[in-house]
């Protein structure tokens, strides 16, 4: 988070000697605040001031990276409408080391299939959490090795036993797994292990007071790649803990909680578990460990995550150019829609299902839906006619028929008049497109 010039100035030596290249300490502070120059230019800053400025200018929640491109934390707001949420909750699916090799493989196959395409977006599950349920370091290491060999996704090695982590980690350290958990009882061994292999580590304690203490102790080991687990295991307490951590990090810059927080579900039944997890996706979990792994259960959770982590300032949009579906020819129908990705892909999916090669022309409505755009004057006949003319589609087909969304039937007359094309009013919902084409 950026510091103001005045906040920086307070930490400077106030000698006004000009050796930094600016005439006064205040001018230097102002320059730093606006991102120009570096603190190193002043030969007189004290180590304390440097430390204070470094930590004050660090982001409120540290970004923690692990595995195959997983990033947690680095959030700056409590409410998405204040700016946006940046790093979607990392979803990890649990595999217990007590499963047989075949069972582990079956689970890995299922996890591998957790890739979804909907409305033009591709979702994948982030990773696998191998859980020490056996209590045997050998067995844990063996399961970790099998999982690592069987998936490309990010890994979490989860055991409270430092020996188990010690046994499993070296073989997969190049995959940069997240490991955990460091507790009051084992933290020195576990944090030092993480430090040695340069992997992030979960710090777990029962309750926030104990957690803050443990983080401070762990930091004294000279390492800061942490993820927090406040130990809550009921939905209500987990919601409270996640909220406290986020608020303290953002509103108070409370350093011990300046890390991402991981949540664990308590429900065993998959639908109940996804229901529980949805609360944590909405309220501040940077990662969640799940038992559920069926497509039908994971897709809805991923959709919620995707929605809430969309930047409120920028609706997801498609390029407002002429799109084709299938092997188009001179008879292909032409559908007019908007460039709001949700709208466009709802239409594209149905046009595809109609099995008729077609053109779709999304009008640039700043990424708004049909009626929102119409109500805001961004889907006017003049504009559509203009886009149509510029698209060059007239040269590609030997007909002059346009299909418009049923919700804007009112513009058909005017559009027909201005464009010179015959305007056909389509169904209101895109789900009607297939039967509409049959009737055409």
């Amino acid at each position: 988070m950026a510091l103001t010039g005045l906040e920086i100035y307070k930490q400077l030596p106030k000698k006004n000697c000009g050796e930094c290249g600016t005439p006064t300490c205040l001018a230097f502070a102002m320059a730093l605040a606006s991102g120009k120059g570096s603190l190193d230019a002043c030969p007189y800053v004290t180590d304390e001031a440097r430390e204070a400025l470094d930590s004050a200018s660090a982001p409120p929640i540290k970004a923690i990276k692990f595995g195959n491109g997983s990033v947690m934390g680095d959030e700056t707001v409590l409410f998405r409408h204040d700016k946006t949420f940046y790093h979607p909750t990392t979803l990890l699916i649990e595999i217990a080391d007590t499963l047989s090799a075949e069972e582990v493989q079956a689970k890995l196959d299922e996890i591998k299939s957790l890739e979804f395409d909907r409305v033009g977006l591709h979702y994948t599950i982030d990773g696998v959490a191998v859980v020490d349920a056996s209590g045997s370091p050998e067995q844990f290491a063996k399961a970790v090795a099998q999982v690592a060999a069987g998936t490309e996704r990010s890994l979490l090695l989860l055991s409270n036993n430092a020996d188990a982590l010690q046994a499993a980690l070296p073989g997969v350290a190049d995959r940069k797994p997240l490991i955990g958990s460091a507790t009051e009882a084992n933290y020195e061994a576990v944090v030092n292990l993480a430090k040695e292999h340069n992997v992030p580590v979960i710090i777990k304690a029962e309750g926030l007071d104990a957690l803050a203490d443990l983080v401070e102790k762990a930091q004294k080991l000279g390492y800061k790649e942490f993820v927090l687990d406040p130990g809550a295991r009921t939905p209500s307490q987990t919601l409270a803990s996640l909220t406290h951590c986020r608020r303290l990090a953002i509103k108070k810059k409370f350093r011990p909680f300046g890390y991402p927080v991981i949540a664990f579900t308590s429900k065993a039944e998959p639908l109940a578990e996804i229901t529980e997890a949805s609360t944590y996706v909405a309220k501040y979990a940077s990662a969640i460990v799940l038992k559920a792994s069926a497509k039908a259960h994971i897709l809805p959770l991923m959709a919620l995550r995707q929605n809430l982590y969309t930047d409120p300032q920028k609706p997801i949009q498609v390029e407002p150019v002429l799109h084709t579906v299938g092997e188009v020819n001179e008879n292909s129908p032409i559908y007019i829609t908007t460039n709001f990705s949700l709208t466009y892909y709802s239409v594209e999916g149905e046009v595809e299902a109609s099995k008729i090669p077609s053109y779709i022309l999304p009008v640039d409505t700043d990424g708004t839906s049909v009626l929102t755009a119409y109500a805001a004057g961004k889907f006017e006949p003049e504009k559509i006619a203009d886009v149509l003319a510029k698209s060059g589609v007239a040269d590609k087909v030997n007909h002059r028929n346009l299909i418009i969304p049923g919700y804007v039937a009112v513009i058909s007359g005017k559009l027909q008049e201005i464009s010179g094309w015959k305007v056909i009013v389509g169904p209101r919902e895109s789900s009607g497109i297939v039967s509409f084409t049959r009737a055409m």
């Binding site: 926030l208 109940a272 919620l304």
Partner: protein, 322 residues
């Protein structure tokens, strides 16, 4: 080390609305539902009072609805009989309220008369003890007639009726005032229109504690994020003492969630999406639980399996936290 937690002190709280009336209060309900009243963000018991549990009203229509089979299959024959259907929702699924939609009034459909509609409402009232939410067929002119008749026929029952919108609020507001019912005020995902409408309605004389906000929502995967943020802002507004935003919010969860392709397309059609039944349930559940975190007070739902899961989510989150 004792960590000094951040506990917000809000100036105000969400307004409380009471729906239904017992015999002692001039109605015939065996229980009433109170919503709103919270003095904190959703379920943060540690900093304020979560006065009332969020309520679930199950949707019942006067004529059989064009819903998908995933949802319809739960109800079997009762879907042809609003009275039996409402009873099933209350007795089997523990619905807090019934959300009765009078779609039979639609001039392009069965075009039922206001009197016929009022009778259905009376019949449902006679069959169940929980409070009722009643809306029309979403044809503004017809609804004005229908709801006037319903409001009169059920005078004293303290229903929640709707829908008042910016360009059509007067006659329904008058009906709610004269016959002492609560009113749903709907605005299209817009804080300013929402406030404006509440001002217009209250200027007509309906007290603020008789209004429930329908902020309009998008379902999961189809714009829920817009509703989420509008609702979160409205909730913060009400806590900051913005009186014209301080009413409890009602969300058309079942309707929006079940419009989604993901709640309708079979696994054969979309193998990548997995089993339809569970997917459809969760589509409705996550629309509800997501919006609960943004401040929803009344969830209008359809699928009984989804209702059960959301009831559990609410019960879990009503446990105290620190």
């Amino acid at each position: 080390m004792a960590v000094a937690l951040v506990k917000e002190r809000y100036q105000s709280k969400v307004g409380e609305v009471v729906i239904g009336a017992t015999a002692a209060e001039g109605g015939t309900r065996t229980s009433v539902i109170k919503v709103g009243g919270d003095s904190t963000l959703p379920f943060l018991h540690f900093e304020g009072k979560v006065e009332n549990r969020a309520a679930i009203a199950m949707e019942v229509t006067d004529v059989p609805p064009a819903w998908n089979d995933v949802v319809k299959s739960h109800f079997g024959d009762v879907i042809n009989d609003p009275v039996a259907w409402a009873k099933k929702c209350v007795e089997e699924y523990n619905a807090d309220m019934i959300y009765l939609k009078l779609i039979g009034a639609n001039p392009e459909g069965e075009n039922r008369s206001p009197e016929e509609c009022a009778k259905v409402v009376k019949d449902v009232l006679a069959a169940v003890g929980v409070p009722l939410i009643v809306i029309g067929c979403e044809d503004p002119e017809k609804d004005n007639e229908v709801l006037a008749a319903v409001a009169e026929a059920t005078s004293g029952e303290n229903l929640l009726i709707g829908i008042a919108e910016q360009d059509n609020y007067k006659s329904i507001t008058a009906a709610a005032m004269v016959h002492k019912h609560n009113l749903i005020a709907r605005s299209p995902l817009d804080i300013n229109i929402c406030k404006q409408l509440n001002i217009l309605i209250s200027e007509m004389g309906l007290p603020l504690n008789r209004i429930v906000i329908d902020p309009m929502i998008g379902g999961l995967g189809y714009g829920i994020e817009y509703a989420y943020s509008i609702m979160e802002r409205a909730r913060l507004g009400s806590l900051a003492n913005d009186k014209m935003l301080s009413m409890p919010m009602i969300c058309t969860v079942g309707y929006e969630a079940n419009r989604a392709k993901e709640a309708n397309a079979s696994a054969e059609e979309f193998p990548g999406w997995g089993d339809l039944n569970d997917r459809a349930i969760l589509w409705e559940v996550l629309t509800a639980t997501g919006l609960l975190q943004a401040g929803a007070s009344i969830l209008l739902m359809r699928n009984p399996e989804a209702v059960k899961l959301v009831q559990q989510n609410i019960a879990d989150l009503m446990e105290m936290n620190a």
